[in-house]
């Protein structure tokens, strides 16, 4: 069987990593390419680059960044942020990205998922879903969490699968940034309701949170940012712990 994947996420704005990272191994911790190389060498299974630039104008550097990353690393990576058309995806894949992640644009125009999937193959289309729980209901949000989409998480997840998504990247906004662990119950429910891989995001604080996401949450992959960027967790330690727990892992 395929192993459970560990995925560091790098937030990018105007071609630079955003969250402060404190790596003495790196000459320039703001350089996404150096950071990507570092994670790839440390045993990360994949990388996600999320462009959070304020405008399309400022996002223009993304394509050349993707080229530099593809030149430097030999593991797969996903690029997300501001993608709303077939041409955006073509430009990123042609530059060397392996997959793209779409979020708000899929909510606004669900047909985009079908279009991207039939043009490029479902394997390179990840749909990211941000949701928070309200009175036993998981509500989907867009615009980076500012606006309710009027969709229920599990309905939306089934719909994106049907429309051709290859993977779902699920972020619990209730857990994101809290370091209390992933939303395992919702993750497990997602996994039972759709038959495409689920990437867990939001809430990683320690190694056992990851183990829980894989066992209780039945996630196929887990994504995190700050615990890796601030070296609170070393990927090698995390993977050793996964192995000890009997979780399939690439070591």
């Amino acid at each position: 069987m395929t192993t459970k994947r560990i995925i560091p996420c790098l937030d990018i704005a105007e071609g630079r990593t955003v969250k402060g990272v404190n790596f003495k191994e790196l000459r320039d911790a703001g350089d996404p390419v150096e950071l990507a190389k570092y994670y790839s060498d440390s045993g990360a299974d994949e990388l996600v680059f999320l462009d959070i630039s304020a405008s399309q104008e400022k996002r223009k550097t993304l394509r050349s960044l993707v080229k530099q990353v593809a030149k430097a690393i030999n593991i797969p990576f996903t690029v997300g942020g501001g993608i709303s058309a077939v041409e955006d995806v073509k430009a990123l894949l042609d530059s060397g990205a392996d997959k793209v992640s779409i979020n708000s644009s899929a909510v606004r125009n669900p047909e985009l998922i079908n279009e991207l999937s039939s043009t490029f193959g479902r394997q390179c289309i990840t749909v990211a879903i941000d949701a928070k729980q309200k009175l036993n209901q998981w509500e989907v949000y867009l615009m980076g969490g500012n606006k309710a989409a009027g969709l229920e998480l599990f309905d939306w997840a089934r719909e994106v699968e049907k429309r051709g998504a290859g993977e779902i990247l699920f972020t619990s906004m209730d857990h994101d940034g809290t370091k209390i662990g992933f939303a395992n119950e919702a993750l497990a429910r997602l996994s039972s309701q759709v038959n495409i891989p689920i990437i867990a995001s939001g809430g990683a604080g320690n190694i056992s949170h990851f183990l829980d996401a894989f066992t209780l949450g039945k996630a196929d992959a887990a994504l995190a940012a700050s615990v890796f960027h601030f070296k609170e967790i070393e990927i090698a330690d995390l993977k050793r712990a996964m192995k000890e727990r009997g979780i399939a892992v690439r070591l």
Binding site: T2, D45, Q123, G166
Partner: protein, 206 residues
């Protein structure tokens, strides 16, 4: 053969994007890549990569539009099909009921054994043989992303398992195919690309 010693790999161009990572992987090994659908150039190339992403039916159609379906089976230099490229070298694919090039004597099927589809991620090779896998060991990990697979057959040179055991690698004479992405499979993948670059450019057709 023309162009000997050029340190160049030809990537078949039939309009199925995303070959950038492959060409970067070869440039890290000191090789240049040329993307081409020109018959003369293809015939003269020392080594050929047959890439492929997307859907089988559309890809096969594009091969035919370029006339590549007619010349690929007759090539005599080392050819490496990757992912969908490997699948198109098989007899047929269940994906869109596509007739393949028939180089490998096996029919590609859809995963249908209670596993998530697409299969995405790193998996272990459970069997490896031939010079393409020299220095690669059983239980080494490779990166795969696909919904259809070639079952184990006589031409299988590497196996992996996802619900069912299947071919991670195939070989017939000078034709090699891998289901995984060597350009995305870390050091193991690079070893396999190096092995491909070391294959003799003639005399492996017997």
């Amino acid at each position: 053969m023309a162009g000997a010693g050029k340190k160049e790999v030809l990537i078949l161009d039939y309009g199925t994007g995303n070959i950038q990572s492959l060409s970067y992987a070869f440039s890290r090994r000191g090789y240049t890549t040329v993307l081409s659908n020109n018959f003369d150039q293809i015939q003269a190339a020392e080594r050929i990569i047959f890439p492929g992403v997307g859907a089988a039916k559309m890809a096969m159609q594009k091969l035919k539009e370029n006339g590549l379906d007619l010349i690929i089976p007759g090539l005599t230099q080392p050819v490496l099909g990757i992912c969908l490229g490997m699948q198109l070298m098989c007899r047929s694919s269940e994906e869109g009921d596509t007739t393949g090039l028939g180089i490998f004597d096996v029919d590609v099927r859809k995963f249908n054994c209670g596993v998530k589809v697409p299969c995405v991620g790193w998996n272990q090779l459970t069997e490896v043989k031939t010079s393409l896998f020299e220095g690669v060991h059983k239980q080494d990990y490779v990166y795969l992303i696909h919904s259809y697979y070639a079952p184990a057959c006589e031409e299988t040179i590497a196996l992996t398992c996802y619900g069912t055991p299947y071919s991670a690698g195939l070989r017939k004479k000078n034709f090699f195919g891998v289901q995984f992405h060597p350009e995305k499979s870390g050091p193991v993948g690079e070893q396999i690309l190096d092995n491909f670059l070391k294959l003799p450019t003639n005399d492996i057709t017997s």
